[in-house]
Every structure is written in structure tokens, then in C-alpha cells.
Symmetry: C2
Subunit: 438 residues, 2 copies
């Protein structure tokens, strides 16, 4: 399960043709700052969650071009540019919000600075990672919040590209999901995995000479025999009441859990809870799944549900599958620059940010200011911009400890939101952002 | 840019725990057929496009578990199951629709048969590939159709996971896109790539002692100097009319193309066309981009636009980022099986399909029938089910020639649709499907 060795070609062609033109006219060496940010949140969202930072830091040393890549590049690039890329190693600096931090429209989530040459070629990879991971983490955090302490399991691998699934499991975990179904996410990121069973396993036990109910019982017995009574039995293949009776018959009252994957989950959860209790399986948990999103999770809050399996809506960002992050040149040789076209304005200049809060910890305002010039008199506040890369080397952590820290940061971020910010209904960003011009 | 060597862990844990239970009770050897299909099309869609077949065939030999993977598996699987997976090699058969074929609700897009053990473990990978690639190709085909012969360019890499981007470029190309911005798609699949320039390149040429217009002219001159007059200049960084004037000043009337990436594209395209013609650049093409989808592409049909760059809506399936494909056990030891739960019914049994058409070639009906028993008297028709894998070996082509064939098949499929089927507005599937029960 080796990761692909090199990531250089995961890039839009124009990054490299721009590089060629800039190398030729000498502007490639100008000192630039690029900012990765979102002009707005997905429609109606109150906050977003920064995710992908750790993946970008891990990808940076892989952003290289080997001989095969250079052969391809030589088809459309001049020899000088190909030589530059053959030797490429990002040597610039990156600042940004820590992974797991909340963000709002205009938050300078990442600032990459160095020569134009080394900054421009990272654009596609950085945007791919952040637009994907942020979309998943932002949706996941709303689900976690709607789940109100009940554990959520990512079951979405099959609903997204096979490699995106691994990154999605990571993003969901950092946003507070308890586990994933994805085994590569366990190997690659140490994320806990869980699994139940599919309807196929029950149907596999169909016999010409036996009823469907008998087949289900045989399937449950086989599963318990192999995986122990702590397993989760899927009870809705044929009839839920019969399924529950078969489940307890197979595992006894110590059965770990049952899963319901179809039907009106609230009604079924109540019926199943009653039936389990009557059968003495009072500790058997109820897992529900089947097209859940943050709204249906919230709607099940009063029902006897113990955990949620979430698939499609998680890995597709629950209606916002790309986070809308952009990567814009904001400074050249110390001069703030900006595009003038009407509806895509972004403030120029290299920026940093801090967040103000009440003494209770509830956040009240985000302030984005020219780098190095924080406004006076805004205590209590917290600096959001931290160093991530210096001279091309990661200075922020990566790996398991960093992922755990990001997960804690999301949890405390959600805790810091004003009440309105946790509402699932459409509305404005949870706090206003003040931009202090350069 | 090596692909990851092994794909076995890109799998939901429960596939392997079901395997463990089935190996233990002997049911792992039962002969099974699994069907990959969509219960419905995304809301309002008239047809879908089969995509991912080639990627699945290429992934099959990689679906293995190496020592590192087996160490992880041993944490939750018994030794017999780990041994089985260490030696795993899919040895079954796969039939299905050729890649590029249209599909409708209930179309048996793929049928995988063999032992339960070897079929069940492929579920996650097969669904990941098809749910992603089909979503992209199905959206892309509508854009191609809306584009009415004008070329479309995939510029969506930055809006999706970095590896999903490569598969998305492939899916878009097979659906009829002319090119992609993604260099790895060129290396991996031979897809033509194109590139223009970003606003950053213009802004890079900002000088404290020169106007923005002068900076733009310097940027255009640098680009033309490096890439030739056939290049595409991005004219909307500051003012479009000035941008066009600068573009022709830099490249002369033989300039290849200009790109407009913001504003009301129809109005701007007309103004820019007039201005280019007045400047003698009558052959200079106009490329438009900026949040395009099939509806805005269609709305630009009457405007002087030469090609479209499409990003977010393409790689996110234009509102339907997962295709809704499922992978269901339909037959065990020759017995059709099906789940009984109310709203997820699927017809049991191993199936094949054919499509009827008028003598004009316009398709009229899809017929899904028990495998090996085609209905009599339904000429003219075309068999849709073809062999893809026999005894674990691909018998359908993969690689460049197969991708080109899939691209042709989409084009002829779109040509075969009844008029209603090409409407972008919400509606029913373009043709009805008749299911002949087992």
C-alpha cells in the first residue's frame, strides 16, 4: 500500500507554462505571497473547519518530478523549465491556521511565500487537498454536533473515489467522528475502524430447503461464531422484528449491537429498543444507517439510537462537495496586489488573523490584519496564524499526534461558537470578520 | 508517479469480517452473483453514463494484500482469513455494460460472479470506482451535449481530491470533453492537456513605477515570448477591454485565444468578439470559464464562444457527486435472492440486458432479463451485456484504445437518445426499462 512516490504531476498544466514564461522573463524570482482562503462559506453554513494541512505538509517533499515526468514536461516546456522542475524542492515558507481550526469567509487559511516559481507550482495540489478535506470536515463537524455525543462512524468509502475515501475518513475523524470503515485509513492514519455486516451475508445463507428466517438465523450464528457476541448484527434484511429475535437467539442478551439500515429509523429504533429490552438485551446498542445527514441525525436525537453510520452525505460534503477555497497572489516584492474584476475581489497583502472571545470563551469576532501588525487592544484574543513550513521544512507536526491535536481543536472550536453558530438551519457566518486593509 | 502497488486495503472492514465468518462456516465457497446497479438516476436526470470499467479492470490485479496489510488484518481477523487474503487473487468472472454505454435505473451495469469470498471483497473498490467515475461522466455528457460541438476543457482538478482529479479527467474525456488541465491524466491515460494562464501571472508583473495596464501588457508579452502567439491570454484581471487591447498588442492578430473568467460571460463574449474583429484578430478564439455547468453552457449557445473551461460542477457531478450505484447479492448457488425491506427492493437473479431501437437508431426500451434467456422477437436490438473478466483475467480491453472506444460509445449513445432524453430540464429516464423476472 505504498503511497505514490511523487506528486508533481498532480498539477494543472498552466502552473508550469506560467512558470516557463516567468523563468524566461526573470519574474520567476520575485518574492511573492499566495493566500489560500474561501470568499464565502457554502450556502447557509455558519462556519467551516480547516482540514488538509497535515496532508499538504506530508505531500510537500513528494512534490517532485522524476525522469518519466520530465519526459512528459519536455513535450511542452523549454529545457530551462524542465531543468528547474527536475531539481525542484519547495524552499519557501508557509503560515496558516492550525489544522482543525474553524474558519470564516476571508480567513487567511494558508499563506505560502517564496519565489513566484516555487509558490505558483503548489497551487493545484494545495487547492485539491484543502477543497476536498475542508468540505468533508466541515460537513462532518455539523454531523458530530447534531449527534450530541453519540458516536458517528464513517461508512462512505464506497460513495467516493477510492483514494479520496481515505482522506475523507481522516477529515471525518479530525472533525470528531469516532471511527471509519476504511482499512487504509487505519493503516495510513491510525484511525479506528469498525464494521458490521451487509445484507449479502444474511442472503448468502439462503437455502432451498429452509425459510428466509431460518437462513437469517444461520447467518447470525455464523457471524457470532466468528466474531463473538460483541458483534453488530444487521437486522433489516427481511423483517426487523424477526431479525431482532434471531439476533438475540444467536448471540444471547450480551449481543453487542444491532444495525437498522432502512425504513423510518426513529420508529424502528423505538420498536427495536423495546423488543431488545423485553428479550433481556438491555445493553445491546442500536446502530442506524441509511442516507443519514446532519438533519436526520438531529431528528433522531430523542430516539433510542446509540450510534450513526454515515455514508454519502459525509463524503460528498453534505451538499457542498468542494469547499470553494482559492489560491491567490496577494503580494509581490512587498506590494499588495489584487484582481479588479467585479465579483471576485480579494484584499491584497500578506495577512494574519486573530479571534476575539468573551471571557466565557465564546468567540465574537475574527480580525484579519496585515502580517506583523496586529491591532492593539483586542484582548482577550487568540492568534490564529501559526508557522507551518520554514525554508521548505515542516515545522508544524504531522502524523498521529498532529491529527489528535487537530481533533481536539475542532472540538474546542465547536464549543467556542455562539449558540447561533451551531444551528443547522441556513444563516450567516457565526461571527463577523473584520478585514484591516494593508 | 507510480500508482500505489496494492489496492486491497481500500476496502470497508466489514467485507473482510464477513469473509471471516463465511470461511468459518463454509459458506464462503457458495457460488454467488453480485450485481452493481443504480436503483434510480440522480433527481431529474434522463440517463447515466457507465464509467470506471477500465479502471476496475486495471485495479483487479492490484487487489492484493502484502505483508504490511496482513499485519494489520491479523489484528482483527483469524489466521485462516489472513492466509486466504495473503494469497488472494480474484478468479471469478465479470460481465457488464461496456464502458461508455448509457444506463438507466435497474440496468445491470456489472455482474460479478464466483465464490462469495472472492466476490464480496471487491464490493468497496468496485463501488468507489463506479460511484465516482459514473457521477463525473454522467454530468460531463450533459455538458458536452449542451456545448453542441464546441470543445470543453476539464479545469476541475483543484476542486476535488488530488487523485480523484485524475479519474475525473478520464471520466470527462470519455464523456466527450476535449482536454484536461491535469498533467497526471496525460501521463496516466494519454488525455490531451491544455492550459492558459492565471490572474497571478498578470499580477506578478506589477511594478511600483508602472500602471496596472502596463503590467498586464508586460505579462502578456512574457507569455507570448515563452509560449508563442498561439497561446491563450487571460484578459479579465483588471479591465476586459484594456485586456483585449493589450492581448492583441502583445501577440498581434494571430493570437490563439483569449480567456474570460468572470462577469456576465455572454455579454462579455460579444463585446470581446467585436473588439477582436475590429483589431483584425478575427481568428482569435474566445475561451470562457468561471462556475460553468450544463445550464450556463447551454445558455451561451448563441454567443460567440469557442470553448468552455469547466471546473467545480464537472468534478462534483453537477449536483450529484455520487452515482448511487449499489452492489447487491442477487444469486446464491443458482437461487435468485433479494432483500425484503420495503424501499430498497432489487430484483433477484443474475441478469443481462438489451436495448431496443427504431430503425432510425433512436432507442425505445431497455429489457433486463434472466441471464442466458433473452426474450424472443425484440429486433432490432443491441445486446448490452458483454464479457469483461474470465477466470480473473480481463477479456475486455483497457488502456488508450479502450478509452477511445468508450468515448465513441458515449457519443453514439447520446446520438441514439430520443429528443426528450437530451433535455437538461428535470424529467423521467429517456427510455423505460422492462424487467423480466427470474
Amino acid at each position: 500500500m505504498n503511497e505514490p512516490l511523487l506528486a508533481g504531476l498532480l498539477t494543472d498544466k498552466y502552473e508550469l507554462t506560467m512558470l516557463a514564461a516567468a523563468l524566461r522573463d526573470g519574474s520567476a524570482d520575485r518574492r511573492t505571497a499566495f493566500e489560500l482562503f474561501a470568499r464565502r462559506l457554502p450556502a447557509g453554513r455558519r462556519y467551516g473547519v480547516v482540514a488538509g494541512t497535515g496532508r499538504l505538509l506530508e505531500a510537500l517533499p513528494q512534490f517532485r518530478f522524476d525522469d518519466e515526468a520530465c519526459q512528459l514536461l519536455a513535450q511542452f516546456l523549454d529545457p530551462q523549465t524542465v531543468r528547474y522542475l527536475r531539481d525542484f524542492r519547495f524552499g519557501g515558507d508557509i503560515d496558516g491556521y492550525a489544522e482543525g481550526e474553524l474558519y470564516f469567509p476571508g480567513s487567511p487559511v494558508l499563506t505560502v511565500w517564496g519565489s513566484f516559481a516555487e509558490c505558483v507550482v503548489l497551487e493545484t495540489l494545495a487547492l485539491s487537498i484543502f477543497n476536498h478535506d475542508v468540505a468533508i470536515a466541515s460537513a462532518a463537524a455539523r454531523m458530530v454536533s447534531a449527534g450530541a455525543e453519540r458516536p458517528l462512524i464513517d461508512m462512505g468509502s464506497r460513495r467516493t473515489h477510492e483514494r479520496a475515501a481515505v482522506a475523507a475518513a481522516r477529515a471525518a475523524y479530525l472533525a470528531g467522528f469516532a471511527a471509519s470503515s476504511n482499512l487504509e485509513a487505519q493503516r495510513r492514519y491510525g484511525i479506528p475502524t469498525e464494521g458490521t455486516a451487509a445484507h449479502a451475508f444474511t442472503m448468502l445463507h439462503t437455502r432451498a430447503d429452509a425459510s428466509l428466517e431460518a437462513a437469517e438465523l444461520a447467518a447470525f450464528r455464523a457471524q457470532v461464531d466468528a466474531l463473538g457476541v460483541g458483534t453488530t448484527l444487521l437486522v433489516d434484511t427481511y423483517d426487523v422484528a424477526t431479525g431482532v429475535a434471531n439476533a438475540v437467539a444467536a448471540a444471547g442478551p450480551a449481543l453487542g449491537a444491532v444495525r437498522i439500515d432502512s425504513g423510518e429509523l426513529g420508529v424502528l429504533a423505538r420498536q427495536v429498543r423495546r423488543q431488545l429490552d423485553e428479550l433481556g438485551a438491555t445493553k445491546t446498542r442500536i446502530v442506524v444507517s441509511g442516507d443519514l445527514d446532519e438533519f436526520s441525525i438531529a431528528a433522531l436525537r430523542a430516539e433510542p439510537v446509540n450510534s450513526y453510520g454515515v455514508g454519502t452525505s459525509l463524503v460528498t460534503g453534505s451538499g457542498a462537495p468542494a469547499a470553494g477555497m482559492v489560491y491567490k497572489l496577494v503580494e509581490v516584492d512587498g506590494m499588495p496586489v489584487r484582481k479588479r474584476s467585479s465579483h471576485k475581489e480579494s484584499a491584497g497583502g500578506h495577512k494574519e488573523a486573530l479571534r476575539r472571545s468573551r471571557s466565557t470563551g465564546t468567540i465574537t469576532e475574527e480580525i484579519v490584519y496585515p502580517a506583523g501588525r496586529p491591532p492593539a487592544g483586542v484582548e482577550p484574543c487568540r492568534m490564529l496564524t501559526v508557522p507551518l513550513v520554514r525554508d521548505g521544512e515542516a515545522v508544524a507536526g504531522t502524523g498521529g499526534a498532529a491529527l489528535a491535536a487537530a481533533r481536539d481543536l475542532v472540538a474546542s472550536g465547536l464549543h467556542s461558537l455562539p449558540w447561533e453558530g451551531l444551528k443547522l438551519a441556513n444563516g450567516e457566518p457565526a461571527i463577523p470578520t473584520t478585514q484591516i486593509p494593508a
